[in-house]
């Protein structure tokens, strides 16, 4: 009788529990940044989506850049900005959401002691490689530094 109860309880428990998913299957490896492009010393300024291109992006900044953007001021000296653009993919865990997929590009904008001296680099491909064609760089810089910080109370 006792054994029977234990067995049936175990059967019910097993039926209601799924085996835990392996952590490596949970991490979004494809969207992860290669170590050489780490932004772990930076913070989020804003994020955006392009519905037509089905991409999503996040703009990160160093402390100077974040403080400047969150107070609505213009570009300062010593800023580092990184814009990561991902292809989107449907979220397997939520019908109704898209999440980052493969990295499309990483752009880096920086200012030196003189905030008008702006450096810009763009990386694309897998593995990410520096894009040597400088056409359109100016527009990209303007577009990146114009991004307004997201409201974070």
């Amino acid at each position: 009788m006792k054994t029977g109860l234990i067995v049936s309880a175990a059967v019910v428990l097993m039926a209601s529990c799924k085996a835990p998913v392996a952590p490596d299957k949970i991490v979004n490896n494809q969207a992860s940044l290669p170590a050489s492009f780490s932004v772990n010393n930076m913070h989020v300024i804003t994020s955006s989506i392009n519905k037509r291109q089905q991409t999503m992006s996040t703009l990160y900044g160093n402390r100077i850049a974040v403080d400047r953007a969150r107070s609505g001021k213009i570009l300062a000296a010593g800023e580092q900005l990184v814009l990561v653009v991902w292809k989107q993919k449907p979220d397997e865990n939520w019908f109704g959401a898209n999440i980052p997929d493969k990295i499309e590009s990483i752009e880096q904008v920086s200012t030196g002691n003189d905030p008008s001296a702006i450096g810009y680099k763009r990386y694309e491909g897998n593995p990410l490689a520096l894009v040597s064609d400088t056409t359109g760089n100016k527009q990209r810089i303007v577009a990146i530094i114009a991004q307004q910080a997201s409201v974070m109370p």
Partner: protein, 313 residues
């Protein structure tokens, strides 16, 4: 001989108990249909077949549902089912939340969390097939509309942004939820572990993780997440321009998940909190609001109740 007699006695006693049990019936309240959900017939047919027994006032009890002790479990299902979602009292759900309830319901069905397995085993007709899911998904997808150049949303965002950079949003006292979680303003200096484009409700989100969460991602120790992990998920309106570019609009809400397997043992080790609007109004009318959080997170129980697939920064 004696053994056989004892066995017969036990059987007889069990039978008496079983018969007696039939006189102790749980009550299932009969409630009127005040406003039934409006949906295309093919969608309605699935909802009726798979959900209505527990999520409407049109419960159809079969003979086997009425035999005690099973009837008690049936009554419990109906009671809790109606409390969470009742298609017969659709007008009692605030209009903006109705679509959210439907998306959540379909997600529960996709994840196999609904209908409940023990109910479905006995009520085979309630099973939601792959074909049913396609019908439900198509219906919901058709409700998604882009609104480029929404001036109301633009104005709301503009005003909020101005208030924020002018420092007008800083409240003297940090709000606290009924389950004792205080707003943590420092989330904005944590690492982003993912972003989501929630086209189901026209918002976009950044999910931040504290140092413990970020380290856990790097160490691959995220199922279960370690105690001390905190997530902050911030949602904004999607502001779309004519070229399909979407930027963050008005701040909608922030949600926290705090891992403390002892303190929050009742909610699978997670403390849940939500603060809405720039006024940061704590969500939940009573401390039991967290049962709503747990209910929604149940389909990802095999991922320690966390939906987010974190990326390494």
């Amino acid at each position: 001989m004696k053994k056989r007699k004892t066995f017969r006695d036990i059987l007889a006693a069990l039978l008496v108990i079983f018969i007696a049990l039939q006189f102790v019936r749980p009550s299932i309240p009969q409630q009127p249909v005040t406003s039934d959900i409006q949906a295309p017939p093919e969608v309605k047919a699935i909802l009726r077949r798979a959900c209505y027994d527990c999520h409407s006032n049109e419960t159809k009890l079969r003979w086997f549902d009425q035999i005690s002790p099973a009837s008690w479990r049936v009554a419990e299902h109906i009671k809790s089912g109606r409390a969470v979602l009742n298609f017969s009292e659709w007008d009692k759900i605030a209009a903006p939340d109705r679509a959210g309830k439907l998306w959540e319901s379909v997600n529960q069905a996709i994840a196999g969390a609904m209908p409940l397995k023990d109910y479905e085993t006995i009520h085979r007709e309630a099973h939601i097939t792959e074909k049913d899911l396609i019908i439900l998904k198509d219906y919901l997808n058709a409700t998604v509309k882009d609104h480029p150049g929404d001036t109301a949303k633009q104005n709301a965002a503009k005003q909020q942004y101005q208030n924020w950079i002018d420092g007008k949003m800083n409240s003297a006292q940090l709000p606290k939820t009924l389950n004792g979680i205080t707003y943590m303003p420092d989330y904005k200096n944590w690492q982003a572990i993912s972003t989501t484009d929630r086209f189901d409700n026209g918002t976009m989100r950044v999910i931040f993780g504290n140092d413990i969460a970020v380290k856990a991602v790097h160490d691959g120790k995220i199922n279960p997440w370690p105690d001390g992990t905190i997530f902050a998920k911030v949602a904004w309106d999607q502001l779309e321009n004519k070229d399909g570019n979407v930027t963050t609009g008005a701040f909608k809400q922030i949600e926290y998940m705090i891992k403390d397997s002892r303190k929050y043992a009742d909610t699978h080790g997670w403390g849940f909190a939500r603060f809405k609007t720039p006024q940061l109004i704590p969500y939940g009318k009573t401390a039991t609001f967290t049962s709503e959080c747990v209910g929604c997170h149940k389909p990802v129980a095999d991922r320690d109740f966390v939906f987010t697939s974190p990326l390494k920064n």
